[in-house]
């Protein structure tokens, strides 16, 4: 991996998170995956090293780093384990992010410090059983009565929402009608444990088995009016901005996962002998590995460019969608090759490549499917105008 264009700090972040992921995550990843177990202990350790609140100002307990540093950190966790990378990526982009960018001083001071320490997790309640790619079809409602929001509805596939340390969910809800007749959407902070707010952990997942995924139910759940995030009616805009940022993190998971699967495949191909030679020396395999390495470098260049554009305050919505689309699909091709190179052993749980193969599939679906990314990109390049 050629890191010549990174700053010394970014190189140090990569080295430190790599050591941490290899030393603390790798030894437990397989077992947590096998038992579908979310680890509070490991999440705290990830908090101790600074994996939560990476881009948050130190005044709220963050590390005050730029977006590329954050993305490198996610990449390094994903190189070892998709589930923990999911906890980190969702924790930062979907939990901490909206609170940090849209919350008021009081909300930030209340929630951010323990989120940045990895002691608590916040979640972003967007997807509903009938509102996936079409987020405007949100059915959950929030009515303001006597300075209380009364929330009714349900959410599904919400990362970090139902763990023992989940502290608050930002719930996207209809709060009225706009003048143009469309639904007015707003985000409301609902602390876990509020009466009328129930969470159910979703089990039997194909992938990200040791990350927490919840189904949420709101039944006349009441929270104070001040729990509104940002301004009333800004929910849709907040969601779009949050997803732009989130796409970079999902892309980082694709990139890191690709790197991890590629390294496993390379190692195995050099150790595995058939017909008296390492299988990496057969051209058919060597070319697979060459393709993997090339696509990974391309993915990295694209994603890092997107991060630099964000750091520079430039519009990055198009390139974020491109990065998410490309990095997640590269990982699809890389894990396919990587399992193929492992032969029969690649189908067995004793070999970590099997986990990478499963964990990849979420990336072309979550936080905007590949199809939605293509829609976003095609709009940006003017196909529909």
């Amino acid at each position: 991996m050629e890191d010549f264009e990174l700053s010394e700090e970014q190189k140090m972040i990569r080295a430190s998170i790599r050591d941490f992921a290899e030393g603390e995550i790798a030894p437990v990843a397989e077992e947590l995956d096998e038992h579908e177990q979310f680890s509070v202990e490991l999440t705290k350790k990830m908090g101790d090293i600074g994996l939560f609140g990476i881009f948050v100002n130190p005044e709220y307990g963050g590390s005050g780093l730029d977006y590329l540093s954050y993305i490198i950190a996610v990449e390094e966790v994903a190189r070892i384990d998709g589930s923990q990378a999911a906890t980190v990526a969702a924790g930062n982009s979907l939990g901490i992010g909206p609170l940090y960018y849209f919350g008021n001083q009081k909300q930030k001071e209340k929630w951010l410090p323990e989120l940045c320490r990895g002691e608590k997790l916040a979640s972003f309640g967007l997807t509903e059983p009938e509102a996936g790619s079409d987020a405007s079809a949100t059915k959950t409602t929030a009515k303001l009565e006597n300075q209380q929001w009364i929330i009714n509805g349900s959410k599904i596939f919400i990362t970090n929402s139902s763990s023992p340390i989940s502290s608050v969910c930002m719930v996207l809800a209809k709060t009225g009608k706009r003048t143009d007749g469309k639904d007015e959407l707003s985000s409301i902070l609902v602390p876990n444990g509020t009466p009328g707010f129930e969470t159910k952990t979703m089990k039997k997942k194909l992938m990200w088995r040791s990350s927490d995924t919840g189904e949420l139910y709101f039944d006349d759940c009441q929270v104070p009016e001040e729990n509104l995030l940002g301004k009333r009616g800004e929910g849709f805009h907040q969601m779009m901005e949050t997803l732009d940022n989130g796409r970079l993190a999902i892309a980082a998971m694709g990139l890191g996962g690709s790197q991890g699967a590629y390294e496993l495949a390379m190692k195995y191909s050099k150790e595995r002998h058939q017909f008296g030679v390492p299988i990496s020396t057969f051209q058919v395999n060597a070319f697979k590995l060459a393709d993997m390495a090339t696509e990974i470098e391309t993915a990295r260049a694209l994603l890092y460019k997107a991060c630099r554009m964000k750091n520079a305050g430039l519009p990055f919505s198009k390139i974020a969608a491109m990065s998410k689309l490309y990095c997640s699909e590269v990982m699809g091709r890389v894990v396919d090759h990587a399992v193929q190179l492992h032969g029969g052993y690649g189908l067995m749980k004793e070999y970590a490549v099997e986990r990478f193969y499963r964990d990849q599939k979420l990336l072309t679906i979550g936080e905007g499917t590949s199809e939605i990314q293509r829609l976003v990109i095609s709009r940006h390049i003017g196909c529909h105008s």
Binding site: S16, G50, P58
Partner: protein, 259 residues
Amino acid sequence: MNIYVCIKQVPDTEAVLNIKEGKFINEENIKWIISPYDEIVLEFALQLKEKNSDFKVTLITVGPPRAESTIRSGLAMGAENAIHIEASDYLDHKTIAKALAQALKNEGDFGVIFTGKQAIDDDASLTHIYLAQSLEIPVVTNVIGFQMEAEKVIVEREIDQGAREKIEMSIPCVIAATKGINDVNEPRYATLMGIMKAKKIPIKKISIQDLGIEGATPTVTTEKLEAPPEKPSGRIIEGEVTESIKELVRLLKDEAKVL
């Protein structure tokens, strides 16, 4: 108290080393790390600091400009200050020790000086002895236990067959520690916050020429560097068990000369 931790930048333990011009290591594509014994003793020094708020931990190293990355890593772990004595040429241990000693004298007020018991590149285990000699202070090697009292330290060092020797020393002194000192076996990870803080700490750079130790005649020079001979592959002795065992014993006696 001012605690100094001497660190050395060495090639990663997994680095593949190639020899250049018969007596140098080819530095291309080498990943550099802090020597693991130094890293453990740095961890230990940081733990001491956490228990004693008036302790200050300063890193000191002699090395080429690339050594700065190792200093930054040490600062990211939590050291407060760093001194980098810049020297590009290969130096022998005595010269390095003299440079360290002079820089420490210039700093003035030093208490305990920690080093790893050896650096993992040349495994010479010499610098800390020369350093103590130059400063005319006591030194103990292979330190596995360390306690501090008012004006002294009590250390335990590993000696043969797992025995330990207990030694009382005055301060200042040089402590060359081994892995497991006071049960410290793992260095901490540099946190992202630590990395950011380290970025802002100025490293005191001193050119070795400015220390006035020129003229120090090297006591050791490298004449030649060569890779160890490749290990011959294993041999399987075929045949009847009673016969092959006889042959094995013969080979162990006559060829391997281990019996």
